[in-house]
Subunit: 459 residues, 2 copies
Amino acid sequence: MPLSPAAHADLAALLGDRLVTSAADRDLHGRNETHFPHLPPDAVAYPETTAEVAGLMAVCARHGVPVQGWGAGTSLEGHAIAAQGGVTVDFTRMARLIEVRPEDMVARVQPGITREALNTELRATGLFFPVDPGANASLGGMASTRASGTTAVRYGTMRDNVLGLEVVLADGRVIRTGTAARKSSAGYDLTALFVGAEGTLGLITELTLRLHGQPEAVSAAVCAFPAMAPAVEAVIATIQSGIPMARIEFVDAATVAAFNARDKAGMPEQPHLLVEFHGSPAAVAEQAERFGDIVAEAGGADFRWAAKPEERAALWRMRHNAYYACLALRPGATAWVTDVCVPISRLAEAVEETRAEIAASGIPGPILGHVGDGNFHAILLVAPGNADEAATAKRLAAGMAERALRLGGTVTGEHGIGMGKLDYMEREHGAGWDVMEQIKRALDPAGPMNPGKMVRGPR
Amino acid sequence: MPLSPAAHADLAALLGDRLVTSAADRDLHGRNETHFPHLPPDAVAYPETTAEVAGLMAVCARHGVPVQGWGAGTSLEGHAIAAQGGVTVDFTRMARLIEVRPEDMVARVQPGITREALNTELRATGLFFPVDPGANASLGGMASTRASGTTAVRYGTMRDNVLGLEVVLADGRVIRTGTAARKSSAGYDLTALFVGAEGTLGLITELTLRLHGQPEAVSAAVCAFPAMAPAVEAVIATIQSGIPMARIEFVDAATVAAFNARDKAGMPEQPHLLVEFHGSPAAVAEQAERFGDIVAEAGGADFRWAAKPEERAALWRMRHNAYYACLALRPGATAWVTDVCVPISRLAEAVEETRAEIAASGIPGPILGHVGDGNFHAILLVAPGNADEAATAKRLAAGMAERALRLGGTVTGEHGIGMGKLDYMEREHGAGWDVMEQIKRALDPAGPMNPGKMVRGPR
């Protein structure tokens, strides 16, 4: 249903030429990074203040117009596309670092700021924001999807690093959750409720973030393994030994092939671990030595150290661009990117079974992931327009999700539900999904907040 | 309103002689650790299974009977007393360690198990559960109040260490939240919603807990400071330096006097820090050296190390019994125990102003706390039956809460709202408190779950 003339007029009165209905802009905001259909909104709004977001929500509530937030568009499960049209709220004009309080190790930011922009601004303070999903995502989007990434094994996810939020609710009310204190026992944890809610309960207009000290010393390395199982076993042993890894990433032989092809990495085409250590110089040296012992025990070899900042930057740039490197393995392909997270004791089993199922399917599907958390991804590459292969990818992704549930894990460790995993919510949560729906109905009774995501539609 | 004969009959049919209405048992469950009135329930239930809890909730919902949970009764804000009578559910018969999965570093427990019992059972596994509020509280109670304590600075609070829950809702439905995986982006964070909800949304019947490796090396120390300000400044410098303190506790001169009187501690009656380091032997030595430098810079002295396990046990036993030591400073006194948490940059100011206000009031009030988190307590000692002093204590506690809000903090870092801090909920949360009420009404529309706590009563 397109925007009614009355709704359009009210929104234009509020936002002027920052309410855009051009085909180009709507088209851009209907796109997604992976395989979901093109679902453009009827209009794109570019608010500059919380008051404008609140005004916009009040108008949309009055006219029954769907509303979804948009940060950097890097979501992998189609969270931000307009499943039922309406208005997409693009936060690129609310992208400021509002305040850094170095002595409290907190920053207040607007939702549109990206993690790279934030860390660039923080550089001189000696602090950084650690959560790193790879993509240069917006902080509002990262909070909304409960993002994590390569450093979560040490620093936690968005759940752990958002201290407070300002949120515009479905009826236009503005609330603040949390404080700049490190902890609180005062009331329901509303911060945690909105982190991961994927914009279905409100729009985040400000975040108070927990910062961390830039590590005094950093060291990174890659090491090769003869097969997948010993690499995963080395990860499990490392986590259980309590070495405070800053990053511990697994890539399979297919991913390494993609690195070699795109980045001329010159790595042996075997499974690898990519690791990083943070701490004092003595602590980093001790951690590296203990990790080296575990790797040697597991049959790993060919350690290559990246001690210089530029070598480390190149290493993690390569890892962060793994998705694009894998896409380039099959030019023109559409990717089905899916993630699951399992208890660490079941990780080897989960990865091996997934590997075998992908190998038997006949479509390319590199596996990689944040294995220190038990979290891994498959990038399933489907030839353009090939419906059979798309069905195969869908079946493989379903197999991964079902396996994760069978092994006591979750259907998504960090990508979220979005358009892709709604079908698993009841399987994972049972009656808990009904509770989520009760909360949704309490806070968004008319249902305009990112409809079609997270909970059942109106019944 | 006492239990109706019909409600009593239904509950007795379910629980037999594990539904108790004796005066002694009701009396015990109407008591609290501090200054709140004696508010006994009409009956005490001792369920042995989740199914019994679900059945009990269904009966109470049908008859409109209030229900509150009871763990170890160690709450400091009267959470578990029966504000409106009804049934208190005592979990002492649901106190088992159900399962330890050492390879996943998780344990599943029933809510009635205490933290000391849990850690005793875990000892042989090389793992431990770190959250340590001092009292030998039950894990269900600790989750319900979002407890933390001395080790939160390193290991986090209950928010960070509960991976999943089984919860019986107000209508008797049973849900499971979370998984044994370390993280998830699948849906609203119901685990975080029930942690800290103080039993107002449901009763926790099982917890999946995150365990940590017992540190290879541990070292602890006390050191004295000439005044409060340099001690607090040393804490701030330590946190900002990134030293991964396992514990960093402040006690003022009055608390030290209590230690000397009760525990023959032989400490100089000055402000002290009590600290602990966890890690490899080399890491602990390095941390201790860096901390020593900061203390020397701040004018601290008289370092006393407790390297042996029995010395450390004595040190932390003394700290954990600080409440009783302070009570003994004024035999027969009633304690008003209150806690606040502020951004670490405002900690010195918050503690100093509180100190001055207590000193001017004429009643004893030792100050101590988990200052690495910005969290501190006052133990205000009121002569028995002295209404003037009680009014003074109330005013001092109010002053602390208002100061915490003014400084950007929270009215409670870890004790919770309970009977004591309902009046501050609107001040701290504004419209966010209305959102909490919307959630409460969605999940407990008739309001029998721990009524009189956390949100406004029915309007």
